[in-house]
Amino acid sequence: MAGGTLELRRISASKSPAPGIRQMPTVTKYIDTTTCIGCKACEVACQEWNDLPAETTVQIGTYQTLPDMTANFWNLIRFAEYENGGLHWLMRKDQCMHCEDPGCLKACPAPSAIVQYMNGIVDFQQDHCIGCGYCITGCPFNIPKFHNKTKKVYKCTLCVDRVAVGLEPACIKACPTGCLQFGTKSQMVQLAHHRVEQLKNQGYSQATVYDPPGVGGTNVITVLAYGDRPDAYGLPRNPTIPLAVRLWKDVLQWLGNLSIVGGLIIAALHYLRFGPKAVKEEAQAAESGDEI
């Protein structure tokens, strides 16, 4: 029961596996920034569940625990101040977004170091990680963090060990206000749109669901009251996999492969058409003459 295996949808630096016959629902985390009170229970629950060491906090002039996530700290409540006809205090749970089309997985050159399970969770397999840090470049949300001692990269796992046995992630369970919810993607999207309707009725005309299509949608969806200003929450407006990573993985890699295979095919055709290289008799004579 505990610690079984999960079927995979995508594997880094490998061909996608053939889909099996099983239908598995995509799991999704719902974050409502409008009902978050910034208590940080999710931060602590994450540290506790994942047995991560305590990180020395840094005072940056807000209530935020750290300036950014670290290899030992995967879940950070960001406190932002936004002025729009009055001061608005925005709190957002920042963590891996578990993209449908993950940039980290695309950029990763180590086979099996980053996997996407059938249920949509994107997970780093540290025993296969080579510590190159390409995933950090590939991520449009700046999530994966390099650990200097182990030389590996770490991030939120969406508590795949809990989800695999049918439990909810630790942060979801802890949240006292219920601004974090967990379920299938369709359920969470429905819930998010319901909440957005409520917000619009309350006067937040720009309220939206942050589920960016640039990365195929994310399995961590966020309700924003000021949806026209995702940057105020520290979110990119239209995140996509960086162009360099796409060029490298989608174009250059195949051009390289084509040149290798093309070269081989042409060499083989040449061999079939013209046969082995004929050594001219004079040259042969000269060679044998040299030897004597």
């Binding site: 505990a2 999960l6 602590v44 369970k173």
Partner: protein, 196 residues
């Protein structure tokens, strides 16, 4: 079976085959990956109450082992009790850290006493502490019990001693607390954590 294979043709086939395989990424890895072991899979679950504030959230303590006689249980994880009507599984950031409260080098495991005017703590036994508390309560009560009010009516009130109950005390504990201190000793200032 005898396949004629010269060194040259072996190298040719091997090189071409290897290059083709690595180029097109024929990957025979299984399409499954091992997930981390659930650390609470076979732990013993014990229901309890968070000791911090008066909200009294329900918690589940996960301890190592299955209560066999040769196992010394250690708390490995604490999380909210989904069946508890108050918190329904959730916990605050302080309650989530309960494990650190239980398994902690700096946790007090014995009675420490600092004498009046002293600058250091001394380790004492529980028996010594009970006797001392009882003695001081007795002395204070003997000296300060108000038996009658100004008009001569019986009061038996003791206002020089205060009692504080904890938020995790159950109804029976609180009944005994009131019975012993208010009905028994006449203590008036009975407090409990919910009002602090």
């Amino acid at each position: 079976m005898d396949i004629p294979m010269t060194r040259r043709s072996f190298l040719k086939i091997g090189t071409i085959g290897g290059l083709t395989a690595s180029t097109f990424g024929f990957d025979l890895k299984p399409a499954f990956a091992q997930v981390r072991t659930l650390k609470i899979a076979r732990t013993t679950e014990t229901r309890s109450i968070c000791p911090y504030c008066s909200v009294s959230c329900g918690v589940i303590l996960h301890t190592l082992g299955d209560r066999s006689k040769n196992v010394r249980p250690t708390v490995v994880h604490v999380e909210g009790d989904p069946d508890h009507p108050i918190n329904q599984g959730s916990l605050c950031p302080k309650g989530v850290t309960l494990k650190e409260n239980i398994v902690n080098d700096r946790r007090l495991t014995q009675v420490l006493y600092r004498a009046p005017g002293s600058d250091h703590w001394e380790a004492k036994s529980w028996e010594w502490a009970f006797d001392r508390i009882a003695l001081l309560i007795k002395q204070t009560r003997d000296a300060r019990l108000i038996e009658k009010d100004t008009r001569g009516r019986i009061l038996n009130a003791l206002t020089a001693v205060g009692v504080i109950g904890g938020c995790t005390d159950c109804t029976e504990n609180n009944y005994l607390l009131v019975k012993a201190f208010r009905a028994g000793l006449g203590v008036i200032p009975l407090e409990q954590q919910a009002r602090i």
